[in-house]
């Protein structure tokens, strides 16, 4: 048996309690007591064990390796061509210049300033319309039975698997026939039609997780279906809607193939479309390409950093659900 129980019966008369063997309540520290140790001991304790240290070195090394190309892109965007050709990694005698950005911004074929604006003009409505129509269509998919539901489901899956090239021919002819070829509106419609499939499926899966009791309670309180959708469903799916918005924004912004096919006038070019043009004829204008690229990728990358959680969660949910 334990030492403590045995001794408690042999307590000496003058020792009223057995407090001596237990810590008094006020002796318990809130934080670990700082020990008067030498800095050397502290240092050795702070350093992780060797295998773990190696793991850190490897992990950080790999992560750095992964962004080296982007580092190069950034370096190239702020240095003159002559220095880039010597290698962007040579940092002695580095000249910092924004000349590349200035040139890209007013690039003669299609100025980046204008192209970025065009990209915004196409991306924002593409995202908003997809959000609205997608959420609306997802609601009956999650809650009601209706004829052809399974068939629609199958079609959505088929479209999600289809390459964008497959719809290019049909949409090309459609847009030409309705006079929307080579216009913002036409490209927005193509993006909306293309994005709706995955958005409906994604939001449907999310809505399935919202307890039906909430809606039933609202119905008993006298809310109409439209009111339920607006006051219960939409607010509750806010996180999913943010995920959809971030991912759809990134995809539309980054899209290259659709603009390439449907935007033909240089003053309607989208930013990703302009970048390959900047390569030039003989000597690749690395500085120009890099500056244009950095401006183009800045938007989705900043968005990703700000809304990383939603982006990642949405990505995982979109493909695994």
């Amino acid at each position: 048996m334990t030492r403590d129980t045995r001794t408690s019966t042999e307590t000496a008369p003058e020792q009223r309690t057995d407090a001596g063997r237990y810590l008094p309540a006020d002796a318990i520290p809130e934080t670990a007591p700082s020990r008067e140790t030498e800095w050397r001991t502290r240092l050795t304790e702070a350093v992780p064990t060797l295998p773990r240290l190696l793991k850190y070195v490897l992990a950080i090394g790999v992560a750095l390796l992964w962004i080296v190309p982007f580092l190069g892109l950034f370096m190239a965007s702020v240095r003159p061509l002559s220095e880039i050709l010597q290698g962007w990694w040579n940092v002695e005698r580095m000249t910092f210049t924004l000349e590349n950005y200035r040139q890209a911004w007013s690039y003669s074929t299609a100025p980046m300033g204008r192209a970025l604006l065009n990209t915004f003009v196409v991306t924002v409505p593409s995202v908003l319309v997809v959000l609205l129509l997608g959420a609306m269509a997802a609601y009956p998919f999650a809650r009601f039975e209706f004829p052809l539901k399974t068939a629609l489901f199958f079609l959505i899956l088929l479209v999600m698997a289809a390459p964008p090239e497959l719809v290019a021919m049909g949409n090309y002819n459609t847009l030409r026939n309705i006079g929307l070829f080579d216009s913002y509106m036409g490209l927005v419609l193509v993006h909306v039609g293309w994005g709706l499939g995955w958005v409906v499926l994604f939001l449907r899966n999310y809505l399935l997780g919202i307890p039906e009791e909430l809606e039933e309670a609202a119905r008993i309180d006298g809310a109409s279906r439209y009111q339920i959708f607006r006051t219960i469903i939409l607010p509750l799916s806010a996180p999913a809607l943010v995920s959809v918005a971030v991912i759809q924004f990134t995809w539309v912004w980054n899209a290259f193939f659709f603009p390439l096919v449907f935007m033909r006038s240089p003053d309607l070019y989208l930013a990703p479309q302009v970048l390959p043009l900047m390569r030039g004829r003989l000597q690749v204008q690395w500085g120009l390409v890099a500056a244009g690229s950095v401006m183009t990728l800045a938007v989705p990358v900043i968005l990703f950093m700000l809304l990383e959680r939603y982006y990642k969660r949405g990505m995982v949910a979109a493909v695994t659900d």
Binding site: M1, T2, R3, D4, T5, S8, T11, P13, R16, T17, D18, A19, R21, Y22, L23, P24, A25, D26, I28, P29, E30, T31, A32, S34
Partner: protein, 358 residues
């Protein structure tokens, strides 16, 4: 078989900002059934994980049979553990789960089958071996987890709130079964729970923990008879001990409006703030003042007939004191007197340490 000893073991998290355990000293004898009891967040699970080797102590040392084991991995300690959520491998069958520790240790298939059969018979789960954990009920999962722990005949058996996910009836059943099993196998067992009934029912020794430290180590009987601090007293018993604040003066305790209680037996003659403790089962309630002896005056708040006894809650000086009585016809608002034997009273000083009885 193994004796465990912890000496001054502390565990800090978040670079020292959180103290999970502070200077634990504990001896567990070979074959003993020790229960770590405490409220949630008291560090009992961390203490168990330290013994298992899933955590390394920040300070202090842990010995198995006198051998220091701090640096040994869990697999080198020959401990078996049952987790609160059972941690059954969802992709393996029941048989796969139970045999896994044997397989890892390279025990030949024939031996494994024998031991599987033996242990499933012991726990009455012979019919479940082909199923996957998802198909089992809570109680069956519990048994599988126990089987997996027992099957490799560990020297130490660690259980982390193993019954907390079961319903009340099943919990009672498993409680006696666990105790029977431990008696039969005589494996040193450390059991973590926040349920004092479980602790009292099963333990050879109960270790009461609070705020990361040990508050008392005692066999169940002694823990009940002699709670070392007011905190422990309030934690043990159902309902727990009544504690009334008062002032100690010349061998008696002044409880303000509730009256004065004589307390001649208490050692020392210090005056000051104290708590007077009496267990509900030691209180009697009567409408008339007793001719002699100690009495506390109060007003009946509620009467709860529990069948086997009646719980009378009496308001005494602004706080509720509970008394367990066999029967009563008292009603709310009745003025009553609570009486008790001198021997049944406990006195705690302002730090909550026991003054009397010694």
């Amino acid at each position: 078989m193994t004796a465990i000893s912890m000496e001054g073991v502390s565990k800090y998290f978040d670079a020292g900002n959180t103290v999970a355990n502070y200077r634990l000293d504990l001896e567990v004898a070979d074959g003993e059934f020790v229960v770590l009891l405490g409220p949630s967040g008291c560090g009992k699970t961390t203490a168990l994980r330290l013994i298992a080797g899933l955590e390394r102590p920040s300070e202090g040392a842990i010995y198995f049979d006198g051998e220091r084991v701090d640096d040994r991995s869990p697999s080198d300690r020959n401990v078996a553990m049952v987790f609160q959520n059972y941690a059954l491998y969802p992709h393996m069958t029941v048989a796969g789960n139970i045999e896994y520790p044997l397989k890892v240790r390279g025990i030949p298939p024939d031996d494994r089958d024998d031991r599987l059969e033996e242990v499933t018979r012991l726990l009455h789960i012979e019919d479940q071996v082909g199923k996957s954990p998802a198909e089992l009920s809570g109680g069956q999962r519990q048994r599988v987890a126990l089987a997996r722990a027992i099957v490799r005949q560990p020297s130490v058996f660690l259980l982390d709130e193993p019954l907390s996910n079961l319903d009340a009836k099943l919990r009672q059943e498993m409680r006696s079964e666990l105790k029977r099993l431990q008696n039969e196998l005589a494996i040193t067992t450390v059991y973590v729970t926040h349920n004092q009934e479980e602790a009292m029912a099963m333990a050879d020794t109960v270790v009461v923990m609070n705020r990361g430290t040990i508050r008392q180590i005692a066999p169940p009987g002694e823990l009940y008879d002699r709670p070392r601090t007011g905190w422990v007293a309030r934690f043990i018993g159902s309902p727990p001990m009544n504690l009334m604040d008062g002032t100690r003066r010349n061998g008696s305790v002044d409880l303000a409006e509730a009256g004065t209680v004589r307390f001649p037996g208490a050692p020392g003659n210090g005056d000051g703030t104290v708590s007077l403790g009496v267990r509900p089962e030691d209180l009697s309630v009567s409408a008339e003042p007793p001719p002699a002896g100690n009495a506390i005056e109060g007003v009946v708040d509620t009467v709860e007939p529990m069948g086997e006894y009646v719980l009378v809650n009496v308001t005494v000086g602004g706080r509720v004191v509970s008394a367990k009585v066999a029967d009563t016809d008292l009603e709310r608002e009745d003025r009553v007197f609570l009486t008790f034997e001198d021997d049944d009273a406990y006195l705690y000083d302002e730090n909550g340490e026991l003054i009397a009885p010694t």
